[in-house]
Amino acid sequence: MIKEIREPLVFEISAPGKKASLLPPLDVPETKGLLDGVALRRDIDGFPEVAEPEVVRHFTRLSQKNYCVDLGLYPLGSCTMKYNPKVNERLSALPGLAATHPEAPVDLVQGNLSLLKRLEGYLSEIAGMDAFTLQPAAGAHGELTGMMIIRAALEDRGDPRKYVLIPDSAHGTNPSSAHICGYTVKEIKSNEDGMIDIASLEKEMAADVAALMVTNPNTLGVFESDICRAAEIVHARGGLVYMDGANMNALTGIVRPGDMGVDVLHINLHKTFSTPHGGGGPGSGPVGVQKALAAYLPVPVIEEKGGRFSVAFDRPKTIGRVRSFYGNFSVIVRALCYILSLGPKGVREIAEYAVLNANYIRKSLEQDYHLKYTASSMHECVFSDKFQKEHGVTNLDIAKRLIDYGLHPPTMSFPLIVHGALMIEPTETESKRDLDLFIAAMKAIAREAKEEPETLKSAPHVTYVRRLDEVAAAKTPVLRWEKRG
């Protein structure tokens, strides 16, 4: 009955004669024979030509085909989808910041350098570390940077070693980052509580192991209560402890990784410090280190002397550059704004309410969904589809059905140690009403799983597209539009 309009690809509405008018005519004498002898292009085959009103409609319509935090709860576990304050968007785009060139002489960008230095300091305080670099562009980039620092430090001591220990519950970027850093990964099994098994650690932590990469709280949302012991073991055998700080949202102001034996960690500003995810980025993954490792931080390093900021490149032990320029500056500015808005008490409340909200959900759904690991939850809780499987319903079906209820699904199929996982992280900025809407939907779906499983298996029902054939997409990849004929 409904004749929904499908949004075409821009290439399909392109036609000659439609154009923008952005630049005034050239105001310098035209040079003839410009770029003589260089291969110039005649055309860009298929390149779009559309009018501005069409561009506006195209993207406005497309935008409405997205769910987002501004529309409701986005309980993706491990992703920390909290409210992105609008004032931070505005301030990070201030012309006085946005118009600064990264190669500007340092005297002309003292404001920028002061902001960077401030955030380094605040993150050090929050994480209990001695120094920070703000350069990494995202969490995984932070992991790589951090592991390079570890490697450089060990190399300096004479041997970079060979292995890195990573729990089986870790995020995939951890092994991948360790690998690019030249290490071989050894997985350590979690114990029945979902935590690092200290006995296995003792066993695996040999003299050729460079580091333990640990996520705390881990990806089950469980605090690694033996973290200090684990660090001791690693340190005793000459290794270092890397912490994936993706879950810092559970800890801010409560406990500091640096106080628990962590040598290096990264923090995701796009998680803990409210910078928007933007549909997949940009992020920012600052890396903090203990004093002994500060010499290995990537260049450039910002220094302050008597209120004047300068940039140091000449750091003999540095791992080098990990990217161009200074990092994702406007993301960094947003995070700084978040910290300043909250203050010491507010930063602690991040953790308090993130954990409160997660526990409220956990408590409310405990009867309806299976909880494989029952250790107490921090900022997220991981259910599984075990009860629903009895009716042939999987976590995928549950997720898709949530969409019908106007909500975003939790993270699925991660961590790998929970089969059929539903990993739920509400964050601290949610309202009780939005939490209750989610809880009610999850309860209704649990009922539906028993009573009308088919409804779930065919969900979602009224979205712009319904379930998509992902297998076909991967089998015969069509990765770009191409002109027909």
Partner: protein, 448 residues
Amino acid sequence: MRYLSLSDNDRKEMLAAIGIGSTDDLFGCIPQEVRLARDLALPGPMAELGLVREMEEAAARNAYPRFLSFLGGGAYDHLIPTVVDYLSSRGEFVSPYTPYQPEVSQGTLQVIYEFQTLVCQLTGLDIANASLYEGATGAAEAVLMAHRLTNRLKVLVARSLHPQYREVIRTYIRNLGLQAVEVPFSRDGRVDAAALAGLLDDTVSGIVCQSPNFFGVVEDVKALSEAAHGRKALSVVVVAEALSMGLLEAPGALGADIVTGEMQSFGLPLSFGGPYLGFMACRKEYVRQLPGRVAGQTTDVEGRRGFVLTLATREQHIRREKATSNICTNQALCALRATIFLESLGRPGLREMAWQNAQKAAYALDVLTAVPGVRRRFAGPPFNEFVLEFPKPWAEVDAALRTKGIVGGLGLEGAFPELRNSALVCVTELKRKDDIDRLGRALQEALR
């Protein structure tokens, strides 16, 4: 806490539902001895007005925006059409996560698909990914990819590649047993063909050159690619000034196998160096080695077209340490901005912008080399930047220009000790004739 959406009563109810007395009870699992027993030493909380004033004051401490600047060198000051800011700031684009649930993410996914197509069209290659962090890590990823594709351990890197990109390649490969050998540039500023021939052998995975190169000179990509292919090595072309692709032949059409680099020029503010927009395109036979996310087309259960993230087996979620790259979060919102930028300009607009850059740079080159004592350093054809040589150290010239409110260019001695008294000058479409003439006069006075 600002941004807390729980009322006093909500909190009470929730604590009661959980069966605890206060939020402190939630942290019992953390050993008491490591818990922080004090308040964090942080400033704030600041109310919105206080925060706005604080940040405006910091911004005002940047004198740079009040200068007339000719800086380029990997970050370019271009027009950003209003619709880019307007559309890209919509909450529906800004505040979702990576589109893991395609049914409620078709907006982001279709944008990525359009972005990939635009990258392919511009580079002249078959496939492209959804973005990389920025240009330098893009170059490093390309080096790793060339190694995976060829199983060779040595890569040749043009010295005329952005020095920061070279440094990042070095950082990335040093733990992997790979080796990067620098290829010098010749007197015209391009890759020294003879030196290259001497370095190239069957152990080389690829030749990495930048075009227009760091000196603004357009390289002979065709010749470089042919040289690489002659040894079954890959031709990797880095484009740091993506706008050049609006005017110059697509690298893919000149033989490049992988094109990577920086698209900051497409609608991203300078923003002190980030977030920017790394990209990568390649021939389709390399698809399984391409790093980073890609979106692909498929159909839903009703046969309607839709888009999904695909080929995830290359990524760490599934492959873990065997992934083609560790990249997870990328630069999606920047790619959105570039997509809006490119679709707004369209074919004629992009060409016009690129052409005006080249024209204005050519005019500036005339004006500035007419100043007594100023010499053009490289004869190779420039796009929108060029290297000038002065009769005295750049630091002195720079200081003199600065007193006139001008940042005249980027000094090269630090990164290239062999280029004494030299600076890289960039001229984009945003520079008016008056601005260029003003630089000319100021330079004349500075050298008097």
